[in-house]
Symmetry: C3
Subunit: 137 residues, 3 copies
Amino acid sequence: MKSFTKHLWFNTKKRRDYIHITDQINDLVCQSEIQEGFCLVSAMHITASVYVNDNESGLLEDIDEWLEGLAPVNPDYKHHQTGEDNGDAHLKRMILGHQVMLPITEGELDLGPWEAVFYAEFDGRRKKRVVVKIIGE
Amino acid sequence: MKSFTKHLWFNTKKRRDYIHITDQINDLVCQSEIQEGFCLVSAMHITASVYVNDNESGLLEDIDEWLEGLAPVNPDYKHHQTGEDNGDAHLKRMILGHQVMLPITEGELDLGPWEAVFYAEFDGRRKKRVVVKIIGE
Amino acid sequence: MKSFTKHLWFNTKKRRDYIHITDQINDLVCQSEIQEGFCLVSAMHITASVYVNDNESGLLEDIDEWLEGLAPVNPDYKHHQTGEDNGDAHLKRMILGHQVMLPITEGELDLGPWEAVFYAEFDGRRKKRVVVKIIGE
């Protein structure tokens, strides 16, 4: 059994942003030289998501508008009594999920033709990490 | 370490459908002959889900109605400017999630008595794949 | 490859409750003596969640209120024709998800500074299980 661990850093200019990271993950899978295994991609900050969906700009706008409808920016979250202002970000990240597990088969990500991996930021403009851990052989 | 990979195909008659697949996954776990490990079941198309919940027909109707409330069919999604009409399906699939990881203990799925694995289709009537990958020993 | 499996039991006094379990998971990771691997934490009952977010009491109240808005207690769920009264719990658990996969690096959970693992109960006051399975070496 082999393991391979890297941390990716993100620092978005906008408070909310959606970054396509499939190519970065592919590069790490190559570096790992693991042929059969699992690749975990997981946000280490609790106001961000990692998810799989279409890499299509209209859909990214739809997702952002939809999340704002389901978990709106709102000054009244009890979490804000701590001095924070990102209650919506903690909730939005639950809808999309914070991690995905990608199968590796014959040395490559075993993804469908339209599966694209995204880092979704809901409280950006500061450095945040994603862990990529691959286990296999 | 052993690995085992199969792809399941689905082609639903209805646009939205919920298919109980625990028995199919169990069969693959037996075929794999893996005693201790993890079994990933992941939709390879981005308008479908794989999730775990109760195998009860009333609940399946509740889930469908609930998802339609949270992410309705709507002609106004920006994604539809590409010619697609399945914006709701891309969003519904985010609520239920697109994958589950099932533990295998002593050669069997280590599930609770009511845990049932489902493939949920939100834009059916065409062939779609699910990857089942098992890693263990 | 090594594997390690334990089941945690919960029996909450309240119907809905949110229990911080990071320390319990850490203890199991230590017991497993696995240095590099994956730790699956998965609810075995279908009206409960396991998720990662902030361990902050205001946010826990926000999450509970938000889930009640998205998937309210309601006598009209079709699932209730079976005699059950927990339709909302089956839906709430889909929002937060029922499992997380935690990376283990150099013998410890590889989590961000604010990542906290929670067991969320939506139909409590009875015994329920969570499986913790670690695979690695």
